[in-house]
């Protein structure tokens, strides 16, 4: 309709400059219009007395306005109005046609693959129309652009899409050519992170418009996509791991599906979920056993649903470095207590944690259990930093503050803050507020503000229950299903005692509460991260009743204490902590490797040499010397390009001369052709943005028959300035007729005709 009324495409009006081609001066037009309007006004006023009564007053003003408009329009047309536009010179310019050839273009929608949705209109005349006016260069686009002779060579099998690099490459290749425009036919499913600003700027500088043609549905009709999996990079052997799986679905609202995690072909955990509202992100947790030590690739999946359009986006992998060796926990207890005995028994079969205990049996005598050497802890609680920092976590039982020297109190604080250890404080008649800890230096690291009063510890029974925060906590997960787990906690035998542990601090997580005598709920188990470490307070010493008052086969007490102690130690770092932002590299090859190195006192070690030894696929071995970071002492960095797809193990070793300071391991995996299967809906936003920023336009495949005309309106390449007359537009004539017609209709209505 627009072009019927205005003869030219809309872009001519947006890009063209309005000019008057008549040889008479423009000022004369203005004078004549003003003179004409005034003359008409004078004429109408002078004949007012002769006019019929119905067209006096405001009605005469309406007629005057209509006649003035008619006069102004006719005078303007006499000056030959036109639009001045830049157009590409025929056969002297190059137009680059880039067609996405990645795997996502093989997706079938409505029985037709995206590749065919792109190819069909191009082959049905669009390319011919372009060729008649321009030199057309065809490219296939994947991780880079590659020239092709015909569209038949497209296979839609490329593992990745990198639109930015491809556009940059085309821009560079055509730097010496009169590039008049770029046509990008794609679903916009770029998996390189989008088009960078440099590429956009470069194309804008050359004034090359990018016309984007979007293919594919913006949203799948029936699909389930496992969008993200959050799993820890490290875990202790035989420990439980919690993974958060985020997925989205369309067309399956209310249906049930199975979430599973596999280690190789073995299913290690599975649970049923019900799909929520269509199009919403849904996150569910899945617990599974880490298994034995080693680098493990766990495959997470949602089972395929009937009629799914994309069957390759239901699973993804994550690497977990399952670590061997037992983490050591020092548990100091101020007096013999049943909790001490039953905690020891609860974790004695846990191969990943070793409990070293120091029990004050009499005023001057300690009983040591679990020590490695006969002399270990012979003098009681460690007073030297190296001795205490040799442990991964610390449990303070029923011990009063004054037992510890000021140095030892500071050491405990540094143990959490600097060393990154876990600290658990238990209730007791000499613990927490009863032991004077509320006003200690250590109060800062605790997750609660301890009450500054006495009488907080009572040997009375109390029922326990979980909070909403505990749903995703590994510590309190006794049963897999959250609802059943909540119920399990409610049915636990009552605690033997409890202590008011005060008010949880901001940012702390209250995982469990107790209700003494059915009264108000008070925090029982509170955790938080502090510095490099983590702290927890458990407001009871009476969980041993869970062991004695439940059936023999019940493992609640054991599971709870094993999980709590693993939480204390799992994240405790060694002297070298190696890391990389992403362990799974999907269609990427570069990884930043870093190592945080500390000395024996866990202060940054800036005077060491750090070497990364890479063991890759097919016997690949490399040694890389890491460079110290200029800003952060103790941090060593390197960028590594993974040459092949496959699994990599990188071992970092820090040395000071001949002395080894520490070592750590990071696992990586490069997989190509995976990201292409995710987020496969047409990224119209990216395509529209790209065309808008470069002066082009977003097109639908059905509208491409006008593409050749419109692409000619470009300021890039070799152009000519063309004047497009406006006087003979159908819209102009219709406007003139409308003016006269309106006047006639009004006169007739008012009885003047």
């Amino acid at each position: 309709m627009f072009e019927f009324l205005f003869r030219y495409p809309r872009s001519v009006f947006t890009k063209g400059d309005l000019v008057l081609l008549g040889s008479w001066p423009v000022w004369l037009l203005g004078v004549l219009i003003v003179a004409g309007i005034v003359g008409l006004g004078w004429l109408m006023r002078s004949r007012q007395s002769e006019a019929v009564g119905s067209i006096k007053g405001w009605r005469s003003l309406v007629l005057w306005a209509l006649q003035s408009s008619m006069l102004a329009a006719v005078l303007t047309l006499l000056w030959q109005p036109a639009l001045l536009v830049s157009t590409l010179k025929p056969q002297q310019n190059v137009v680059a046609v880039l067609v996405d050839d990645s795997q996502s273009m093989a997706l079938k929608e409505g029985g037709q693959a995206r590749r065919d949705q792109a190819r069909t209109p191009l082959q049905a005349g669009v390319l011919d129309a372009l060729s008649r006016r321009f030199q057309v260069r065809l490219y296939r686009v994947a991780d880079r652009a590659e020239r092709i002779k015909a569209l038949d060579t497209l296979t839609a099998q490329a593992a990745s899409t990198n639109l930015g690099d491809s556009l940059k490459q085309v821009s560079n290749e055509t730097a010496g050519l009169p590039l008049g425009g770029v046509i990008l036919v794609s679903d916009g499913a770029d998996n390189s992170g989008g088009v960078d600003l440099d590429t956009i700027t470069e194309l804008r500088t050359r004034r090359v418009p990018i016309h984007t043609v979007g293919v594919g549905l913006e949203q799948a009709v029936k699909d389930v996509e496992l969008s993200d999996v959050q799993a820890p990079a490290r875990a202790l052997a035989d420990s439980r791991i919690a993974a958060q799986l985020t997925f989205e679905q369309r067309g399956y609202e209310g249906r049930k599906a199975k979430l599973a995690v596999r280690d190789g072909s073995k299913v290690v955990a599975m649970r049923e979920v019900t799909f929520g509202k269509e199009g919403n992100w849904q996150t569910e947790s899945l617990l599974f056993n880490a298994g034995s030590a080693g680098a493990r690739a766990f495959k997470f999946s949602l089972d395929l649903q009937e009629g799914e359009e994309n069957q390759k986006n239901n699973s993804t992998e994550r690497l977990v470095n399952v670590q061997d060796g037992r983490r050591r926990i020092l548990y100091i207890e101020g007096e013999p207590r049943w909790e001490f005995k039953f905690v020891r028994r609860a974790i004695e079969d846990d191969k990943s944690v070793k409990l070293v205990t120091l029990l004050r049996t009499t005023q001057n005598k300690f009983y040591r259990q679990g020590v490695d050497q006969p002399t270990e802890l012979e003098q009681g609680f460690p007073a030297k930093v190296e001795e205490l920092f040799g442990f991964h976590a610390l449990i303070l039982g029923n011990v009063e503050l004054n037992y510890f020297s000021p140095t030892q109190q500071e050491l405990i604080k540094s143990f959490v803050d600097r060393r990154g250890g876990g600290l658990l404080m238990l209730a007791g008649r000499n613990a927490l507020s009863e032991g004077g800890w509320a006003k200690s230096a250590l109060a800062e690291v605790l997750p609660v503000i301890l009450p500054e009063r006495k009488g907080t510890f009572l040997r009375e029974p109390a029922a326990v229950q979980l909070t909403g925060t505990a749903i995703d906590s590994l510590i309190t997960r006794l049963v897999e299903q959250p609802g059943a787990n909540d119920e399990r906690w409610r049915k636990l035998p009552q605690l033997a005692d409890y202590q008011d542990i005060g008010t949880p601090k901001l940012g702390a997580a209250v995982l469990a509460e107790y209700t003494p005598g059915g009264r108000a709920r008070l925090p029982l188990l509170v955790t938080q991260n502090y510095g490099r470490g983590r702290t927890a307070v458990l407001g009871t010493s009476g969980t041993w009743r869970w062991q004695m008052q439940q059936p023999l086969e019940d493992q609640t007490h054991e599971v709870f204490w094993q999980q709590l102690q693993r939480w204390l130690v799992t994240e405790t770092p060694g002297p070298v902590v190696a890391s990389t932002p992403r362990q799974m590299l999907f269609d990427e090859s570069r990884a930043r490797l870093s190592a945080d190195v500390r000395d024996k006192t866990f202060l940054p070690a800036a005077d060491v040499e750090v070497e990364a030894r890479v063991l890759g696929p097919q016997g690949l071995t490399e040694r890389i010397k890491m460079k110290p970071d200029a800003v952060t002492p103790g941090l060593y960095l390197t960028d590594y390009a993974l040459p092949k797809t496959g699994s990599y193990l990188v071992e970092f070793t820090a040395r000071r001369g001949a002395e080894e300071v520490g070592r750590d391991v990071v696992t990586l995996q490069r997989q190509d052709g995976v990201a292409e299967n995710f987020r496969t809906g047409q990224n119209r936003e990216l395509l529209e943005k790209l065309s808008q920023q470069t002066g082009g336009r977003y097109w639908k495949p059905a509208d491409l028959n006008r593409l050749a005309d419109e692409i000619a309106l470009s300021e890039a390449g070799i152009t000519v300035r063309e004047a497009r007359d406006l006087w003979d537009l159908p819209a102009v004539f219709m406007a003139l007729i409308a003016l006269r017609g309106t006047e006639w209709w009004l006169r007739r209505k008012w009885g003047a005709v």
Partner: protein, 267 residues
């Protein structure tokens, strides 16, 4: 008698029964079975981490009663309270001043991970009680048995034990076992006689001439049942304040008892 009086009497009777029932499971149970009464400590109602729990079991022949007096209640409650005073004085164990009598069939039984059973040469269990006791040990409970002497009483004891653990052997506790070292080093142990020696002139009773320190162990080699055969540590606790009772007997009995408690709270 008017109906008001009948109602009042019924109400009074109901209240009396209620009060008596409410006192079950408290320190005031079984007062009529006391063997050697002792004053109730002033802080008897104050709870503690450790409670001296005495097992009230049925004797093989005469129900809860043994030969001319208590079997389970022998030396009770004086021995218990006097021993706990020592525990409080010698260790950091937060011990309740007064003992607790526990029965195998009671719900509270599992709340006391340390129990003392005396005159076990007379004990007997139903199958249900034996199963409950077995579960108690396998969960982590600990029992000290005492004051049975000679071959005959051993055979009765063993018969009861077999109901609890048909396939677990009784072993002699090695000198190096932590139960003899957890607080006091008890390398030198000897037979501790009961008060009967004042009359018989002999430390031993029946044909139990040598003290036997035996145990039933769990799968990890920890003592579940500490068996003190041919000795009477309970008498030593009970008569430690008697001018004629040998100090070395009382001292060893206290140290053994203390070690058993500390051991049970650490292993």
């Amino acid at each position: 008698m008017g109906s008001r009086r009948v109602s009042a009497l019924v109400l009074l009777g109901f209240c009396t029964i209620s009060v008596l029932l409410a006192q079950r499971g408290t320190v005031r149970d079984f007062l009529d079975e006391e063997d050697n009464p002792a004053p109730m400590p002033a802080d008897a109602q104050e709870p503690g981490e450790y409670t001296f729990a005495r097992l009230r079991y049925t004797s093989k022949r005469n129900g809860y009663w043994g030969r001319g007096g208590g079997a389970w209640s022998t030396d009770w409650p004086k021995a218990d309270r006097q021993f706990v005073q020592g525990v409080r004085r010698l260790t950091r164990v937060n011990a309740r001043s007064v003992e607790q009598v526990v029965e195998l069939d009671s719900e509270e039984f599992m709340q006391y991970p340390w129990i003392y059973a005396t005159e076990v040469g007379r004990w007997d269990f139903t199958e249900k009680q034996a199963a409950r006791l077995r579960e108690y040990f396998l969960k982590g409970g600990f029992m000290m048995t005492d004051d049975f002497h000679g071959t005959f009483e051993w055979s009765v004891f063993y018969e009861g034990l077999q109901k609890v653990f048909p396939d677990r052997p009784v072993v002699d506790i090695e000198d190096k076992d932590q139960i003899f070292h957890v607080l006091y080093d008890l390398k030198e142990r000897f037979q501790v006689g009961g008060i009967q020696m004042f009359f018989t002139g002999r430390v031993s009773e029946n044909d139990g001439y040598d003290a036997k320190w035996r145990a039933v162990l769990d799968d990890k080699g920890r003592v579940m049942i500490a068996i003190c055969h041919n000795m009477d540590l309970g008498d030593a606790w009970e008569w430690a304040d008697h001018p004629r009772y040998p100090e070395n007997f009382a001292s060893l009995a206290y140290r053994v008892g203390v070690n058993f408690i500390i051991y049970s709270m650490t292993h």
